[in-house]
Symmetry: C2
Subunit: 146 residues, 2 copies
């Protein structure tokens, strides 16, 4: 069992939910997918090992993980939600408006803002998402000499 998956499953139990086979399989598949996956794609992955697990259960587990702050749905070109892992406290994307390419980065100075805003709103922050939008190198070149 993956360490990361184990951590998430513990979180499920700690919040009063049950540790079931389905949830174990789904969380494991999610962690192995390295994020950025749609619910239906995840369901397909899960079924490679556990063919009996239903699509609904995957949807419901993702919903639960949202509530626990473990994942967050985002748009990524297509209509279906893509789920990203928020388990490390932060997730940072550089997203091209044109080709929808997504690059990851780690730098982040959200800490100060977070503290300030958390106080102001009495909000308990568990994670954050920073998306920088614009044009990637290639798309920028295309649009400049056209």
């Amino acid at each position: 069992m993956d360490r990361k998956a184990e951590k998430i499953l513990n979180r499920i139990v700690q919040n009063g939910y049950r540790r079931t086979n389905a949830r174990q399989a789904i969380v494991t598949a999610l962690v192995n997918s390295a994020g950025h996956i749609t619910a239906d794609d995840l369901a397909d992955n899960v079924r490679e090992k556990e063919p009996h697990i239903g699509r609904m259960t995957v949807y419901r587990t993702l919903e639960l993980l949202c509530e626990l702050g473990v994942v967050r749905p985002i748009f990524q070109g297509t209509g279906a939600a893509h789920y990203i892992l928020m388990d490390n406290g932060g997730h940072h994307h550089l997203i091209c408006n044109r080709c929808h390419n997504v690059m990851e980065f780690e730098e982040c100075s959200a800490a100060m803002v977070m503290e300030k805003v958390a106080k102001q709103f009495n909000f308990h922050i568990s994670s954050h998402l920073l998306e920088l939008h614009g044009l990637c190198e290639e798309c920028n070149e295309i649009s400049s000499h056209q």
Copy 2:
């Protein structure tokens, strides 16, 4: 005609797209909606004044505005995408994982990170989205004394 809408329409023209009645009506309705609206809700709004405008055109216009970096689709509890305006360069949300309540804030120190990352990836940043996730005051209380 709203100043904000005018600005967006200019942007459409400057990028080689046509300024049509449909796009004018849609952009105006979008600006008046103050953001956080789904495609279908926007279509309904548009039709109050221009009943002949089709749903497809609204979807396509939103797609175009995404490409121009004017809006960004996000998830907000429900299944349908909610479009938020990125026209001021940044958009900042505090989102409760449980009740899905969304609060706006302005503080942001993303500037430094942005500069650094832009250089590193040769990326042309036009806007950003910062989402802080966690539990709002009420939801936090509920989960602590249960």
